[in-house]
Amino acid sequence: MTADPYSEQVRALFARPDHAGDLEKASARVHIEEQGVRISLAAQCDGDIIECLRFRAWGCPHLLAAAEAVCRSYEGQALTALQAFSAAEIMQTLPVPREKLGRILILEDAVRSLGRSARVSPDAGKDTD
């Protein structure tokens, strides 16, 4: 089964997007719409630490998988750590084909922006873009 456009990892993340959803009592939120892609992120924190991270997204399988991967990896970390999130890294690890860099950069925007919204009101993210 060669030439599969999706890696095992992308397939697994896409198939089980456990972090898809919303958080009623989010400490921080962000919503971006750009180039047809839509991403919402919500974090619930205990102090600086992300307890729960949820996403919603409208886009291709790579974007959805990347969003799920982000949520999985940042729970338990400091919200400010999100500011260091890099599209380049996830492009490599999933991997994501080069022609989809644009939409992963939109995800990067959303993630970093969520990181910057530490300790602001739950709606703060909304006008990031």
Partner: protein, 391 residues
């Protein structure tokens, strides 16, 4: 599909398996115990191979209602389309350099027309209405004194829309313009009687009608003035119209496929219709779902639907291992919304969510039910994951 009972294949418009009877005809012809000789050879073995070719030519001619000498074997509909359009354009270059076709044509026709455009031909691209159907009066108005050729497909490979070949062809004949029909999707599935139809050139390919891949044919009407210049030159086979060693097993397979298609056309048509209706019944209540293409001119082997606010690529992956298509098979690598659906006036958003389900002889109601369930589940899941739009 071996070893994957999970796979449900509803992509018969992209390719069909060879019918078991076709496989039985072909298999013995490959090896040393079969009639493997070159059918152009004069010796006993060559004559035996030739007999298979002659039988198959007769079988395809019967299916199409034409004479045997009006058929040329090619490698498939892509080559047939090229031979028809480039060949006729070159042969009739003195007559003028105007072609007429549609933006909803298969790429083989569209790309070759675009190429001729670059080489100094003028091409009129006629638009269908928003159900995909071409109004014959639009064709009538587009024909000019320097029009050489009109190329319009019979059944659209993405939407299944059937064009009124009789009416369009009658206009061409009246104005003495050659009429080419890409019938890759309709041969063996809808009745054709070329002896009585106003069609000059007609392309077909075996692998869409339960024959093997790699063999097709071009019908070139025997009426005066209908000639094409060869694309490929060489050993003189097929009267020089398309040389190269004839692929005897494939030709024999196509012949058998034609024989079967002819004798079972009615029951196959009824079967396709009921599968298509079953699928549509199962999903038509979904919010924001629409059929792409005219209901009244629909070929029952294809159902193309779009749905609001769902991303197409994720939909396709969520449907796995259901095998369906987005645009046409050959487009499926590209990310662009189908030009066929855009020509029907669909928004980019709706066009990109389009899924083409296509049915075949082996399709069972159970498979259709699985497709219904997977489609509904996938839509629900993706809508669930998607965020609302910003106010």
């Amino acid at each position: 599909m071996s070893n994957s009972t999970d796979i449900v294949y509803l992509d018969y418009a992209a390719s069909t398996p060879a019918d078991p009877r076709v496989v039985d005809v072909m298999t013995p012809l490959f090896g040393a115990d079969g009639d493997f000789a070159n059918p152009s050879s004069g010796h006993v073995a060559g004559r035996r191979s030739r007999a298979h070719v002659e039988r198959a030519t007769g079988q395809l001619a019967e299916l199409l209602g034409c004479r045997e000498e009006e058929l040329v074997w090619t490698s498939g509909a892509t080559e047939s389309d090229n031979l028809a359009i480039v060949g006729a354009a070159r042969y009739r270059a003195d007559r003028g350099r105007h072609l007429i076709t549609m933006p909803t044509e298969h790429k083989a026709v569209a790309d070759v027309s675009r190429l001729l455009e670059k080489k100094g031909f003028e091409v009129s691209w006629l638009r269908p209405d928003d159900t995909g159907v071409l109004d014959p009066t639009i064709l009538e108005a587009a024909i000019r004194p320097d029009t050489q050729l009109v190329s319009i497909m019979h059944v659209n490979n993405e939407t299944g829309v059937i064009q009124d070949i009789e009416a369009l062809g009658a206009i061409c004949r009246e104005r003495d313009v050659l009429f080419h029909v890409d019938a890759a999707q309709s041969v063996g599935k809808l009745p054709l009687d070329l002896a009585s139809m106003p069609v000059d050139l007609l392309s077909t390919t075996a692998h869409k009608v339960y024959g093997p891949k790699g063999i097709g044919a071009l019908y070139i009407s025997g009426r005066p003035g209908c000639r094409v210049e060869a694309l490929i030159h060489g050993g003189g086979q097929q009267g020089g119209r398309r040389p190269g060693t004839l692929a005897v097993p494939l030709i024999a397979g196509f012949g058998e496929a034609a024989r079967i298609a002819r004798s079972e056309m009615q029951e196959n048509h009824a079967h396709l219709r009921s599968q298509r209706e079953r699928l549509w019944r199962g999903i038509r209540d979904l919010e924001g779902i629409v059929q792409n293409g005219s209901e009244s001119h629909a070929f029952p082997g294809i159902l193309n639907v779009s749905i609001e606010d769902v991303e197409g690529e994720s939909l396709l992956l969520a449907l796995e291992p259901l095998c369906v298509a987005t645009g046409s098979a050959c487009n499926s690598k590209s990310q662009e919304p189908s030009s066929v659906l855009r020509a029907l006036g669909r928004s980019d958003m709706l066009a990109q969510s389009a899924i083409r389900f296509s049915f075949g002889r082996p399709t069972t109601p159970d498979e259709v039910d699985i497709a219904v369930e997977r489609y509904r589940t996938a839509i629900a899941r993706l809508r669930d994951i998607a965020p609302g739009r910003a106010a």
